[in-house]
Amino acid sequence: MDVQPSKMVATAPMVTVRPSTGHSRLARPQTGLASSVSAKISVRDLDFYYGHRQSLFHVGLTIRSHSVTAFIGPSGCGKSTLLRCLNRMNDLVEGARHRGRVELDGLDIYDPSINVTDLRKRVGMVFQKSNPFPKSIYDNVAYGPRLHGTNDKRSLDELVQHSLQGAGLWDEVKDRLQQSALGLSGGQQQRLCIARALAVRPEVILMDEPCSALDPIATGKIEELIHTLKHTYTVAIVTHNMQQAARVSDQCGFFLMGELVEFGDTKTIFTTPRDKRTEDYITGRFG
């Protein structure tokens, strides 16, 4: 079962030229024009290393604006690594290096002229384990805006309310904004982290297995939220739950041992996968 890199590279351009069809279920108000399916993020021939260990091999794909892209695959297949490359979170890891390009709106994010904090402001992130700061709910949401210079009380209040509403949490917490965020339930904490990411007004939201620690009801709420979010933002999500990928995503990429095996329209991947390994994984014969 050796992987041919060439095969996988060939899939990438195929996806990018695919017209926006098969999305009648979801309204897309932001993209009125037929040809507006623009590439928000393009990954070109990306190799990635932790020290001497290579964890991504020649990955290439395109994430469309205002869509949900899911990365699936078994543990350790490199899907989280790719996600963390998209806002350079891997810079924090010692000994990490890469080769290839990652473009946001056509600009290489690894270019020395790019300010990495500005990049992370544009490309927000929600983590696997909900990690609200040990502060009040209000201060958690206001954390990012305050850093980026919003200190006016009125506009902060507005922003906090707007972000919490965007994350579907406002009605549950509006009476206890000054209480500690650690008193919230697991699902609420995760939605608070989403609200916190929304508060800095990003363009892209990366989610790294956001539901892995949540019960089914909380998971359902987050999935609903992802549907809503894609009208305003571009979403990329890592999940090892294939049903979830099928439910929430428009495009889907299957990773195996650091290689992108198949990338394309979610419906296509789940109904008529072109690669035998994808089929094995999806049908549960492998993994």
Binding site: T117, F127, Y143, G144, G183, V200
Partner: protein, 549 residues
Amino acid sequence: MAERSKLMKDFWRGGELFVWLTASGVALSLLMVAGMMTLIMVNGLGQFWPGTLQQVTLRSQEQVIGRLVGEEVIPEAGISGTGASPLRYRYRVGNRDQFGSEYRWINEADIQSIAAPKDLASVERREWGPAYGRISVGTQDGTTASPSEGTWSTVVTLVKRANQLRRRIEHLERDEIGAINHRIEQARLARQALALKSQQGPGEAEEDRRLVDRITVLERDYAATTEALERLRAEAGQEVLLLTLSNGKSVPLSLDRVLAVSRPNAMTLLEKSWAYVHNLWQFVSGEPREANTEGGIFPAIFGTVLMVFLMTLAVMPFGVMAAVYLREYAKQGPLVRLVRIAVNNLAGVPSIVFGVFGLAFFVYALGGTIDQWLFPEALPNPTFGTGGILWASLTLALLTVPVVIVATEEGLSAVPPDFREGSVGLGATKFETIRHVILPCALPGILTGLILAMARAAGEVAPLMLTGVVKLAPALPLDEYFPYLHLDRKFMHLGFHIYDVGFQSPNVEAAKPMVYMTTLILILVVVLLNLAAVMLRNRLRRRFATSAV
């Protein structure tokens, strides 16, 4: 048989014995702490109770007045004796100036009778320790007792008046004459500074004349105040009490030497309790007398607390910054490991070594240079070039900085990496992340370092002896003259006070309760300082508690 061996095996495997072993370890430590505290408290707190004064009549018809302080079996008699071991009692008879020694052993066999007459009085004096006897009001020349009956209330009134007078004298001495002296010193230093200036013009000469005039005026003030002081002193010495000793001799007791009189045998329990509280308060709030063996220890308490605070101010920013660099910024490698080992070893260096370093570096090198640059007019008298509270605090800060660094590093590494990622993912820089997320979360750990540092610093004596502690400081480091906090002043410290009172005083036996009491206060000060920090830490812990999820 097999069953029994299985039972034995189960017993050993179950570890029942191990539980007992570990528990006895805890019990032993608790017992030691409790025993130590009890010993200190019994020996220390007892001395303030106004105990019964006994009048002992010996078979030789000699009278002894004193307080019973101990008893023992006479050593030689017990060996050769007839079986019943004779006892002897130890009395504190006071009147060191008359009898030569304050204590006296009395054999049980020599005692004819013991009584506790109500008219026996105990006198607390400014010199020579306590005196016991009967008191009457003396005539002007101080030789004979005035015949008036019911003199006790007169005595109390007289002592009260004398105390008021003494407070006025102290006020004159300390506040008014102190203020004048301070101003004279300032003017004198200003003249010196003027003389040191490189160019001398008519302006300088004018200024100098002005200063000389001011000094003259101040000296006239000084003379006037001293005269008033002398008058008050004469007034205080006018009235005299007459103390009749156990041997029937009467000695005059000048009222300006008397601090308090009491008749413990005539006191009710309530009065005794009140006297106890009063004595305790005098001890905590008063100034030492008689080479520290009597009076209070307030300057030592104040010096200890102030020194610990100054040390904290110095060590916390320094230690926390070093730890943040080591943990957050420095590239983790052999060099950082080496630095860590060095820091940990620094904590094990004997404290006297730090004292020597403090003396050589802070006092001589740094202080000497500061004197040359900033206080040349006072030379050759050193200002900062001699031991002082600042140098002592800095030396202790150096001593405790490893503790702070280690504890802070622990606190920093205990902050979950999720918080870092969360903050960085929102577009925060590393600095913003450290400032707004990591340091607040690490605060409990940092405060643990503070607690350990304070506990260590408050108990350290050896380095202080080289860098600024004295037996008796003439003034507190904090007073009403600008700049209020005098970092250059020498100070008193409870730890050194214990050593001084216990082993350097002329009257070791009488000072023993003082040693225990000072020890108790030192322990209390350390416990209170720690408690304050622990409470602060617990409040912060609750605020930053991570959820159980």
